[in-house]
Symmetry: C2
Subunit: 251 residues, 2 copies
């Protein structure tokens, strides 16, 4: 079971877009995939069409020791989701419990009954306890980098944090970088791509996800790109990215 | 002195881009402006060309009761900045102090010696103590909404939070919405614009900021759009937005 966090401290770089579409692409490639929404904003949950007050999910697991298996929502054959839940934001303010608070998701994942090939954890754009739980619970991280200066800054920062955690806890996470919202004709996008390839050659995944309006539209229908427009370039890019992940494919 | 927070829980909607460029536009219109970087990611600080470890700023004011006047960096005649500082992220984890922790920025602003026409507070994409301090310290908020589904969701959420605070503390903040990263030809952008105008007619500012690559490029040079490309559409849009703010101009 490959457990992967989608992490970046920069906002709006495509963490949620990648979580939902890469997961569905892997399911279409025959894999059994679980997505977990670790963002109190519930963007992943809403993007997949689940709304409404009183929604519960990973918040009950992390705050009230709920059984993780009770909160799995089956979306399709081979694609499941654990929603964020309305109370997830409270985890950041839990003061009792010391270091254990950072390992609650890891403990919960060990109790999963179903055999998944992939577990993806969509993270919020911040570095508190939620992101910490995701890093501790997974063995791989994907950092989406959108093609601009501040996103590049965020990349160095998050890799630094992960490295610090790895040294402190003597553990190694596999790291991947994916270029997102890529606009071929923008010089800035080409400059960022070239810099990322130069500084992190062994981490960059071969496929860049191009900026295409269908990827921005599909969440408003509660659909992934494959449900919304399966012949689009966005669907093609995420299918190719899934192959990269399956092959451990670097650029 | 108009004190304005730039707030949204959605990442990457243009809070920082708006903070730096609207501030500079107002200074060019003859106003004396102070920007405060309340994001531990220091994006505003870096976008204006200030880098380097050991940078101190509003973190020292909020965590160590530093004198706010000591941390003002004068960028131009009429345009000042208080950097975030490396330790700003620690504020979210301060547990001693109860409700007072949410009012530290407000207390600090009262000690400002210089007479500013505008104070802008750039906020992180989250709703913890940093955002709380910004809301308490300012009398107006601007919520940038980029032209997509998740950004619209974030808008309702943040307006709900601000309303809740207003009821609890019996105070009224003036609220403004600005459409950002607007792409005329995208149907989704037109749909979001039309929805925002319909649901919040008295809050939307007349000028939408168009998506233009120069706005994404200028931070990599440590420059605002006016320093980088003063004849660009991005500069025009932020100049027009400054006029809207000066006139209390709604759409
Ligand atoms: N390749 C793309 N083409 C077009 N639009 C995109 C693409 N990737 C993401 N978007 C849009 O950009 C916005 C930000 O993307 P997304 O919400 O996935 O980023 P995020 O990193 O999860 O943001 P946050 O930090 O708020 O969690 C969304 O409206 C999304 O639909
Ligand atoms: N109108 C625009 N045209 C082109 N690019 C833009 C525009 N507005 C913002 N951008 C770019 O989009 C990215 C996100 O913008 P910005 O960092 O200002 O958003 P933010 O809301 O402050 O993000 P965060 O939530 O991470 O603080 C940046 O790289 C910025 O340069
Ligand atoms: Mg997200
Ligand atoms: Mg910002």
């Amino acid at each position: 079971m490959r457990k992967i966090s989608i992490i970046s401290q920069k906002g709006g770089v495509g963490k949620t877009t990648t979580s939902m579409n890469l997961s569905h692409a892997l399911m279409l490639a025959g894999k059994k995939v679980l997505m977990i929404d670790m963002d109190p904003q519930s963007n992943l949950t809403a993007s997949l069409g689940l709304h409404g007050p009183g929604l519960t999910g990973i918040d009950s697991v992390l705050l009230d020791q709920g059984d993780i298996n009770q909160y799995i929502v089956n979306l399709k054959n081979g694609l499941d989701l654990i929603p964020a839940g309305d109370k997830l934001g409270e985890l950041e303010f839990v003061t009792k419990g010391g270091a254990e608070r950072g390992f609650r998701l890891e403990a919960a994942l060990r109790k999963l009954k179903s055999k998944y090939d992939f577990v993806f954890v969509d993270c919020p754009p911040s570095s508190g306890l939620l992101g910490m739980n995701a890093i501790m619970a997974t063995c791989e991280i994907i950092v989406p980098v959108s093609s601009d200066f501040l996103s590049m800054q965020g990349l160095s920062r998050v890799l630094g944090i992960v490295q610090y955690i790895e040294e402190k806890l003597k553990r190694k996470n596999k790291k991947w970088i994916v270029l997102t919202r890529f606009q071929q004709r923008r010089r800035l996008a080409q400059e960022v791509k070239e810099k990322v390839y130069r500084y992190f050659p062994r981490l960059v995944l071969a496929t860049s996800i191009r900026e295409t309006v269908a990827l921005a539209e599909s969440p408003s229908y509660g659909k992934t790109i494959f449900e919304y427009r399966s012949a689009s370039r966005g669907a093609q890019d995420y299918s190719d990215l899934a192959k990269d992940i399956l092959n451990g494919e670097r650029a």
